[in-house]
């Protein structure tokens, strides 16, 4: 596939099948936001450090800014748009609100997606949550409340 040429990519995103053209260099983050209009996933550093771009690929949290869309062809992706529903929050989203785990909110979709995956790993302590969430930065400093929200859902 040549640099400028287009290829058809198929992704199952939040349970729905999508097929769209992309180039070799498009990242998963770029196609989610620019081609599919799913702007819930944010672009922060675009270098794999901040975690704002976190999505689930086959149930595993990944940084979509470091994933080529072509490499994800055929995969099942879950974004923040697929968490909760209209008028019905996921329990982690509700916990984030109860614990005031956000200020600006730009990192929050990534925090939620990363937190959902961490909950599947069953963290055993607050320290394990802090360590497990180390891939998600929050410039507003809501870390204690983010940890508390995840801890509440984890039953700690």
């Amino acid at each position: 596939m040549s640099p400028g040429s287009s290829i058809r990519i198929s992704l199952k995103i939040n349970g729905r099948d999508h097929e769209f053209p992309a180039t070799a260099c498009d990242t998963l983050l770029d196609v989610l936001r620019d081609k599919l209009g799913m702007t819930g996933t944010k672009k922060g550093c675009d270098m794999g450090a901040c975690g704002a771009c976190t999505v689930l690929a086959e149930g595993r949290r990944i940084k979509s800014c470091l994933a080529l869309a072509a490499s994800c062809d055929g995969r099942s992706i879950t974004t923040i748009e697929g968490v909760g529903g209209a008028g019905k929050l996921h329990q982690l989203q509700a916990a984030f609100i109860r614990h005031d785990a956000l200020q600006r909110g730009y990192c929050t979709p990534g925090q939620i997606m990363s937190g959902l995956a961490l909950l599947e790993e069953k963290p055993a302590s607050l320290e394990a949550i802090r360590e497990g969430m180390s891939g998600n930065l929050c410039r507003c400093g809501a870390y204690p409340n983010i940890v508390a929200a995840i801890a509440e859902v984890a039953g700690l």
């Binding site: 640099p3 260099c25 976190t54 595993r60 940084k63 994933a67 490499s71």
Partner: protein, 237 residues
């Protein structure tokens, strides 16, 4: 975001991967956590990438005292594998202190060994004079250390398949020199901790002499498997 564009191809099998990689300027793409960062910063400008992420090289097996790590095994899978945690706990511990959960789900053990030097001074195209000097890199940045020595053999797919290149993982003390200077057939990797430049205690598995190992391995050899032999020892100082 890099302005440089590249071609994309996916390898159907190991042989296809090597054929695609034989074209000048082609890079292997596994997890992509190293390649894409370097590409975006402009430090790497591949003409093409060959995606090997779906090749069946990700198995982790422990048989007769030998741990075999498929080069495409994800770091997260390695760190939580019962045989790794039981027989090589320091490797699991080092992995879990590396990067982040998201990166560990993407990164592969082979890609981790083959990644470029992680120090940010080297991951840029604005400081060309500092490249290619791993010893200077270690001497410049003191770090808290854990001392581990284990014997690792790497199997590469090459024209004369398979070839086994022994790798020795050694943790380098700050400003110390590696005492093992055997060069023939030996390539060295190091596990070091606590780079003060990043001001974090994350432990990183990093390849220290990529230029040496690449000069030994044939061009477009594909790292397939790592064998950790019984008798590996580890201690913390």
């Amino acid at each position: 975001m890099s302005g440089h564009s590249f071609q994309y191809g996916r390898a159907a099998n190991i042989y296809d991967a090597r054929i695609q990689a034989s074209k000048p300027g082609t890079a292997f793409l596994a997890g992509g956590t190293d390649l894409l960062q370097l590409w975006k910063s402009g430090a790497m400008t591949p003409a093409a990438v060959v995606d090997i992420s779906r090749l069946p090289l990700g198995d982790v097996e422990f048989t007769d005292g030998q741990l075999s790590l498929g080069a495409l095994a994800r770091l997260s899978d390695m760190a939580t594998h019962p045989d790794v945690t039981r027989y090589h706990p320091l490797i699991a511990e080092a992995i879990l202190a590396s990067a982040s959960g998201q990166i560990r789900n993407m990164a592969t053990v082979g890609g981790n060994l083959l990644q470029r030097t992680r120090c940010p001074y080297f991951a840029t195209n604005s400081l060309p004079a500092t490249k290619g000097s791993p010893a200077a890199d270690v001497a410049r940045f003191p770090a808290r250390t854990a001392n581990q020595l284990c014997s690792v053999q790497a199997r590469y797919a090459s024209r004369r398949m398979p070839r086994i290149w022994p790798l020795r993982w050694r943790h380098l003390m700050p400003r110390s020199k590696c005492s093992d200077r055997r060069a023939s057939g030996v390539s060295r990797c190091a596990i070091y901790t606590g780079c003060p430049v990043r001001r974090r205690s994350a432990k990183q598995i990093s390849h220290r002499e990529t230029h040496h190992r690449r000069s030994r391995a044939e061009r477009n050899s594909l790292l397939c498997l790592l064998d950790l032999s019984q008798g590996s020892r580890s201690c913390v100082v």
